[in-house]
Every structure is written in C-alpha cells, then in structure tokens.
C-alpha cells in the first residue's frame, strides 16, 4: 500500500510505576487514513495518543512520522495537533484568538493569518462567532472550535482524544458525519481515540482494538465485525453469541465443531491461529445471522424457548434459552412474524453465519 508507513509506531511500551499502560504496540498508519484506537477505559489508547502528540514519552520503542523520528520531541516541535477531550478552549480569548493562537507562533502576515482564521471559521460553519468567548459556546461549538484551532496549523496528523464523548447522542451522530466529511475534505491523517465501538466502526478506515495496553486486532470495520480474531474482540464489537465445543475435523478450509448447544457446526477456518482436531474450540454467531421460526426449518436447527422479546420498531430482539448453552441466545429478526415470551421456536443458521474463534 502506498504510504502505508506514514506513521510507524514501533514496539512502543510505556510504564507508569508497576503498571504497563502500553505494551509493545506495533502499528503502521497510512497517509490520509482515518484511524481509530478503540478500547475500554484504561486500555492504553489515550496514553498511546499522547505519546504520538509528545505529551508522554515511551520507555521503549520509536515513533516515526513521515520518515522523521519524533520519539523524543516536545509537542511544539511535532507536525501533529491534538483535539483534547476537554477541548481546552482558552477561556481568556475569543473564538478568533483561540483559532489564531497557533498561527501567531508561525511567521506570517496579519492578513494571511486573518484569511486562514476566516477560512477555518467557515469550515466549521461558525463564521459569525469570532468575537464570542468560550463560556458563550455550546459543547458542540467548543468541539468545532478545538477542531478548527488544530486544523488551521495544517498538521500532518490530527490527534483526537474522545472528542465526541461529552456531547449528547444526537449531536454526537451529527458530529460524526461532519468530522468524517472534514477529514475527507482536508485529507489529513486522523488518529481518533474512542471507547464507543459504533463510533469507531462508522467513521474509520481502520480500527485498532486495544485491551490492557496491547493491540488485539487491526482491521477495517467490516473485517473487524465479521472476522474477529479473538473472543475479546468479538465481545467488544457488537453483540455476539458464543458456543463452546471441540474441533472434530478440518477439510477444505472448513472446520467442524461439536458443540453442546448447537450440535455439529461448520465454520471457515480463520487464517490466524492453529487448530488441531480434538482441541477446544469456540463458535461465535452474530444475533442477525440466526433465523427464528415457529415452523421447523431446514437443518441445521435447534429448538428453544423465548425468555425475553423486545419489539424495537425496525427489528425485534429476542432472547432464547436453548439446552446446553451457557447463556440465553440473542437473536435479531426483521420479519413481520410476532414472537412472544414463553413460545417454543426453532433457531437455524446458514453457512457463513458461524465463526470459528481461537481461544
């Protein structure tokens, strides 16, 4: 891939006392990519972002930006800019002076500076807001000012630390679209930290899922959802039903697993991990890959009893108890058939539904 080594995070480790916040992370990010670091709080995503921005320094490893080793440079000497979680709008300056703050460091004429600020204000659609103070702005407006203040510096990489976390749901959805649009327009590489998997999937070109300082999987959203490499990733991204079993055979890239709950299940063997017949194996199926019916379908199927059914308008979410399963199985259907609590139903699946996951 052209320019896929634009940012190289090379085996970076950061410790705080006895705790390892970031543990040997290796990532290559391409130029112009919208790249997300996704994980629960404390997984090390923010620490990693701060090391890229120069606010923390790795104990081991190097960070290379566009061919230049920036590992030990302070923030003011890196071609990166950050949108902070708290936005960090300077309260003693108005919107204009906030956006112009970084431009005053660079040697440029007042006319050019004004032009750049006007352009930035237009980009975030706050053209009439130049004279307002931070206290007079709403959460969404602050977020946009923070974005403009960083982008006006024309960085090689824009770092965003959970910038939408403080906004309410509707505003967040609007800002997701807006942010993605701006990223496409300016063509700058974005590294976006979030704990919200939907946000990461909907906005990113690629996502790195992190846990306990390590990267579990790096992939585009579709691969991440449809081919998670581990139980942790599958669990973190969306809802997943898990069925424990034993591998009984592999042929033609297909594995057959004997499970207590579903009986024999066939699933494609993943490229990663080693699988030997007789070993414990995990079958994972997304709720929308399971089919629900009152009449007996074509094999393979199992029978179960509905323990909870919620109608959500565009779909129904149904929990079914099946013998041998550890937890009720979650099924999402979009059919017009009505399913009620206490009914006995058939659950079936097609090939391509079940996934084999290394444990």
């Amino acid at each position: 891939m052209e320019g896929s080594n634009f940012i190289r995070i090379d085996k970076v480790t950061k410790r705080f006392g006895a705790a390892t916040a970031v543990d040997g992370v290796l990532l290559h990010i391409a130029k112009g990519e919208f790249f997300s670091l996704l994980g629960p709080s404390g997984c090390g995503k923010t620490t990693l972002l701060r090391m890229i921005g120069g606010f923390a320094f790795p104990d081991e490893g190097r960070i290379v930006l566009d061919g230049a080793d920036v590992t030990d440079l302070p923030p003011n000497r890196r071609p990166t800019n950050m949108v902070f979680q708290s936005y960090a709008i300077f309260p003693h300056l108005n919107v204009r002076d906030n956006i112009a703050y970084g431009l005053r460091v660079e040697r440029m004429s007042a006319a050019e500076r004004d032009a750049r600020v006007d352009e930035a204000l237009a980009m975030i659609r706050l053209s009439g807001y130049g004279d307002r103070k931070a206290q007079q702005l709403s959460g969404g407006e602050r977020q946009r000012v923070a974005l403009a203040r960083a982008l006006v510096k024309r960085p090689k990489v824009l770092l965003l630390d959970e910038p939408l976390g403080a906004l309410d749901k509707r505003l967040r959805e609007t800002m997701q679209i807006e942010l993605r649009q701006i990223q496409r327009d300016v063509g700058i590489t974005f590294i976006f930290v979030t704990h919200d998997q939907e946000e990461a999937l909907s906005m990113s070109d690629r996502v790195a899922v992190m846990e306990k300082g390590r990267v579990l999987q790096v992939a585009d959203p579709k691969t991440l959802y449809e081919r998670p490499v581990s139980r942790a990733v599958a669990d973190f991204i969306g809802t997943m039903n898990f069925f424990e079993g034993r591998l009984i055979g592999i042929s033609d890239g297909k594995a057959t697993v004997e499970t207590a709950a579903l009986g024999r299940v066939e699933a494609p063997t993943p490229s990663a991990g080693t699988f030997a017949p007789g070993a414990r194996a995990l079958i994972a199926i997304r709720p929308e890959k399971l089919l629900l019916s009152h009449e007996q379908p074509e094999a393979p199927f199992v029978r179960g009893k509905i323990v909870a059914a919620s109608y959500l308008g565009d779909r129904s979410q149904i929990q079914v108890n099946i013998p041998g399963a550890d937890a009720p199985v979650s099924v999402v259907t979009q059919t017009s058939t009505v399913f009620r609590d206490g009914e006995f139903v058939y659950i079936s699946w097609r090939s391509g539904g079940p996934l084999l996951i290394a444990e």
């Binding site: 708290s86 960090a88 300077f90």
Partner: protein, 275 residues
C-alpha cells in the same frame, strides 16, 4: 407557641450579633472620630471639629520618611513573596503530584503559627551573628518570610483545578514552555497574583514586631507610631495617621477580594479523566 419562642430567640440573637459587631468595630471607629476632635485629650465630650491634626501629620517629615520606608518595604516584600509563592504553588498543584507534596505543603504553611516575636528574635540573632547590618533589607527578608504562606494559599486556591490541558494545548499549537506561561498561565492566574500582591503588601505594611527587631535606624511607620506614643502632645497626629491607614487598608483589602472573585469563574474547572 413554638413560633413565639422562635421570635424571642431571634430577638436575643439580634442583640448578641449587634453587641458582637460593636465590640469588633467601635474601638476602631473611635480613631477617626477623635482624629477630628479639637482637643489634645482623648475623652468625651467632643470639643469641636478640626482637621489640624491631619495638617500636622502631613507636615511631619519624620513621619513621611517612615511612610516612604514602609511603602518600599511593602512593595518589595509583596513582589518577592508573590513570585516565590507562584513558583511554589505551580509546583504543588501539578496534576502529577510531586513526591512529598503533603509534607512540603504542611511545613510551608506551618510558619503561619510561629509567633512573630520568635521569628523576630531568630532573625535578629542570625543577622548579627553573620555580621549583617540591620536595615530595611533585613526587614524585607523578615517580611517575605511571614508573607509567603499568605501568597502560597491565595495562589494555590487559584491554581487548583487549573485545567492542565490548556497548557498542553498551547504546547501542541507550537509554543514553548516560557511563552505558554505568558500567553496562557499568567493571564488566567493574574487575578490571584493581584490578590496575593495586595494581601502580602498589607501583611508587610501592618507588621510592627519584625520591623521593630530588624529595622535598625530606618524606622517603618508602625515602629515610628510606637515611638511617637511617648509624646502625649503628638497623640492626635497618631490618631489622624491611624485613621488614614485604616481607610487605605480597607480599600486595599476590598480590591484584593474583588480581584480574587474576578477570577473565581475564570479557568475551566471541568476536567475529564482520560483512559
């Protein structure tokens, strides 16, 4: 019944509150009252209105020299203690706690409780044993010592809750640490700095004990006033001076409080802890 008892208690409380305030302020208010009284003796009944004591005070060159000394000492001591206090407060309020923070903080403020006479004697012994002459400089040193805890407390309350990401944002936007201080930290802390300057100035201006021990032959105003009390005929001048000081310090304290409140809604206090 209950209500009646309430009212009765309320009345008692009002009397108590009034007596309390009278006890606090009437003696002080007697000063300006007698400073306008046309008599050498401080006694009722009042004899008639005059401003001659103020005129006499203004004409007193020794007094003017002492006032000038006090202002210089106060200005220097407040500036030095505010700068030192700002540096200490900045270090003590960092988001990554300094090792031994509690220990340093406790001891830094403990000096508030050391009796000034002890500090005075200690500094006097130190100065003389080092062979340093007693002068206004030694008074400044003593005053910085007693002003520092005040500066530290005022500035720490200002810096506490200071969103450190504001300074990080400045670094991120290309400024170095020095310019970040002047473009972000200083303007946001300015109300606290002003409050600290005024407060420490008053502490220095008021101080008699340390100045008495350390001033040598350059008297400050409180030391001068104490000396003047030996001459009964100068008493009304002292009253006029006292009244003038009273008004000036009340104005300064009001200014300090105004500056402190000005900043209360200043820097963003919404700090979010990241992963």
């Amino acid at each position: 019944m209950n209500g009646a008892r309430h009212r009765q208690w309320g009345g008692g409380l009002a009397i108590y509150a009034f007596a309390y305030l009278a006890f606090l302020y009437i003696p002080v208010l007697l000063l300006p009252l007698f400073s306008f009284n046309d008599s050498l003796f401080i006694a009722f009944p009042l004899r008639g209105f005059t401003t001659k004591w103020y005129a006499a005070m203004a004409a007193d060159t020794q007094m003017r020299a002492a006032l000038w000394n006090t202002l210089r000492v106060g200005a220097t001591a407040s500036l030095v203690s505010t700068i030192l206090g700002l540096l200490a407060a900045k270090a003590l309020t960092q988001s990554a706690p300094l090792p031994g923070r509690g220990f340093v903080l406790g001891f830094a403020n403990l000096s508030l409780f050391i009796p000034e006479i002890v500090i005075g004697i200690a500094l006097l012994i130190l100065m003389t044993s080092m062979g340093l002459p007693l002068s206004l400089t030694s008074v400044v040193i003593g005053h910085v010592l007693i002003c520092l805890p005040f500066a530290l407390l005022v500035l720490m309350s200002r810096l506490e809750g200071f969103d450190s990401s504001l300074e990080e944002a400045s670094r991120d936007l290309g400024e170095n640490a020095w310019m970040t201080f002047w473009r972000v930290t200083f303007p946001l802390v300015l109300p606290g700095i002003i409050a600290s300057l005024l407060l420490t100035f008053i502490v220095s201006f008021d101080d008699f004990m340390l100045a008495f021990f350390l001033c040598g032959t350059d008297t400050t105003l409180p030391v001068y006033i104490f000396g003047e009390l030996r001459f009964p005929y100068k008493l009304p001048n002292v009253l006029a001076l006292g009244a003038a000081i009273l008004i000036a310090s009340a104005a300064l304290i009001a200014l300090a409080e105004w500056a402190r409140r000005l900043g209360a809604e200043g820097p963003a206090r919404d700090r979010v802890i990241g992963a």
